[in-house]
């Protein structure tokens, strides 16, 4: 279990408990948090679950696969902190994780 803070583009914060084993994307979708569309449900096929991971947490969220890297390369507003949240697995180590959503997922 980890407490994850999802920050909408307008600054609205949502703090929820996410079960270990779920992805950061699933934690948002199952709690109906706006700003993460996740059209493909976690298949790394759509790049509509783009988030910015807070600097302090970036190393703990692991490395990007070639597929994720390639999808992100074509998403909008990508920075060094960009990840596809369906590719970040939640564990106890991520307790306190903070991610921010981009203005749009297109």
């Amino acid at each position: 279990m980890a407490k994850v803070t999802y920050v909408e583009h307008d600054g609205t914060e949502h703090v929820v408990d996410v079960k270990s084993g779920l992805s950061v994307m699933e934690g948002a979708v199952k709690n109906n948090i706006p700003g993460i569309d996740a059209d493909c449900g976690g298949a790394c096929a759509c790049a509509t679950c783009h988030v910015y991971v807070d600097d302090a947490w970036l190393p703990k969220t692991g490395t990007k696969s070639a597929m994720e890297e390639s999808m992100l390369d074509f998403a909008e507003g990508v920075t060094e902190n960009s990840r596809l949240s369906c590719q970040i697995k939640v564990s106890d180590d991520l307790d306190g994780l903070r991610v921010t959503m981009p203005e749009s997922q297109h």
Partner: protein, 410 residues
């Protein structure tokens, strides 16, 4: 128009219906929402049924769009195991299979589509399966395993995904296809040939151009598939994947205009009745980038139309126009498809099919109509943009994989 207290009834609790319910609350609708679905469980992801779920890599919890508690916590009156039997547009009521009646200010039809059965001898034997619902997937999972013989009728995407998962589970798999090539209705020959080769390499057998005339049984269970040429293909189970038909009967009975599905406008609103919306597989909808109307069977379409209906009901601006897309996972292949290949006069293959990394672009003049990308996210992502923008494309650059997709689309 927006009415925060409006009573909303959603008929159908699949990907479209479940998403519409959640979005209505997310968009601030405070009035009553009821959602009925004929399956016993809350809305779930169907795509993994033929892939991760079948292979045991996903469980029921992870398939659920939202946990069951979500609906009560968000004051959504979710009624599982119930279907709508009729619609009274005069009274604005829906009669349900359990005898109850729901009244609505806005009705969202999200009844989806159902698998088409083959009307042939032996069709009711045990072991003849479909793949549309979690219950179907459960039955299929129990039927495949090491040494089991699985016959897949229909070489479309569902059939091919089942074939790949069946192989992963150790079953012998044969795909029976009526046309001379697989994916004949949905993909070009280059892609058909590629998938045929890839599946053969993974041990799948194909019978092309064959007509299934009957299922043969033993003690009430299917034991073989009889072909028109007289042969019988022995099997322990059959999956029939020959397409789906929209569940639009209650809409038709109530006098709503239907074509192949309920005819709606850009807000997913019925063209006959402004208080009724139809979304997902059951809707026959306009697609401005192709200047035509058609029915789609895909998750992105269900989500997009859920957004359109929820936006219209809550008085939000209509979502921007989209490029339809879908995906399929087979073995280590990720296929991403953007657009539909309407009125195509030229096909450009970019990349190397023998390396399982290529994309097929379908063009009308110098406009991209659709792209099928195998393990090629840049081609898919930029293809989507090109299709949506209707911008002329430089074909020489497009055909040259050393030119980056960003330059092609620049």
């Amino acid at each position: 128009m927006s009415d925060g207290a409006a009573k909303i009834v959603i008929v159908g609790a699949g990907h479209a219906g479940g998403t519409a319910a959640a979005l209505l609350r997310q968009y601030g609708h405070t009035g009553p929402i009821a959602m009925v679905g004929d399956e016993p469980i809350p809305p779930y992801q169907r795509p993994p049924l033929s892939k991760a779920w079948l292979k045991g890599e996903a469980d029921a919890d992870s398939l659920a769009l939202k946990p069951l508690e979500f609906y009560a916590e968000n004051d959504i009156d979710f009624r599982p195991g119930v279907s709508a039997v009729s619609l009274n547009r005069g009274d604005k009521t829906v009669a349900l299979s359990d005898g109850a009646t729901l009244s609505y200010d806005f009705l969202i039809l999200a009844t989806g589509a159902r698998a088409i059965a083959l009307p042939i001898e032996g069709k009711d034997l045990d072991g003849i399966l479909f793949l549309r619902t979690a219950a179907h997937a459960e039955a299929l999972k129990a039927a495949v395993g090491p040494g089991k013989k699985l016959a897949v009728v229909g070489g479309g995407y569902i059939g091919l995904e089942v074939a790949a998962s069946g192989r992963a589970l150790g079953a012998d798999v044969v795909v029976l296809e009526r046309e001379e090539r697989i994916l004949a209705r949905v993909a070009c020959k280059a892609l058909s040939d590629f998938f045929t080769g890839y599946h053969q390499k993974n041990g799948v057998a194909f019978e092309l151009g064959c007509s299934v005339t009957a299922f043969e049984g033993k003690d009430g269970h299917v034991a073989g598939v009889k072909l028109a040429d007289g042969r019988t293909i022995a099997c322990d189970a059959v999956v029939v994947g020959v397409g789906a038909a929209p569940n639009d009967e209650i809409a038709k009975d109530a006098g709503l205009e239907c074509a192949r599905g309920v005819v709606v406008d850009l807000d997913a609103r019925s063209v006959t009745d402004p208080s009724i919306f139809a979304i997902g597989d059951v809707a026959h909808r306009p697609m401005p980038i192709y200047d035509r109307m058609f029915r789609m069977e895909s998750v992105p379409n269900a989500l997009e139309q859920a957004k359109q209906a929820a936006s219209a009901i809550t008085g939000r601006p209509r979502p921007p126009g989209e490029c339809p897309w879908q995906w399929s996972d087979q073995y280590d292949l990720k296929l991403q498809i953007a657009g539909y290949a309407f009125d195509v006069d030229e096909i450009i293959v970019r990349g190397d099919p023998s390396a399982a990394k290529f994309a097929v672009f379908h063009l009308k003049g110098d406009q991209v109509q659709s792209v099928e990308a195998i393990n090629s996210p840049p081609e898919f992502m930029m293809g989507k943009t090109l299709i949506l923008n209707r911008k002329p494309v430089n074909k020489a650059k497009l055909a040259d994989p050393t030119v980056s997709m960003k330059d092609v689309a620049a």
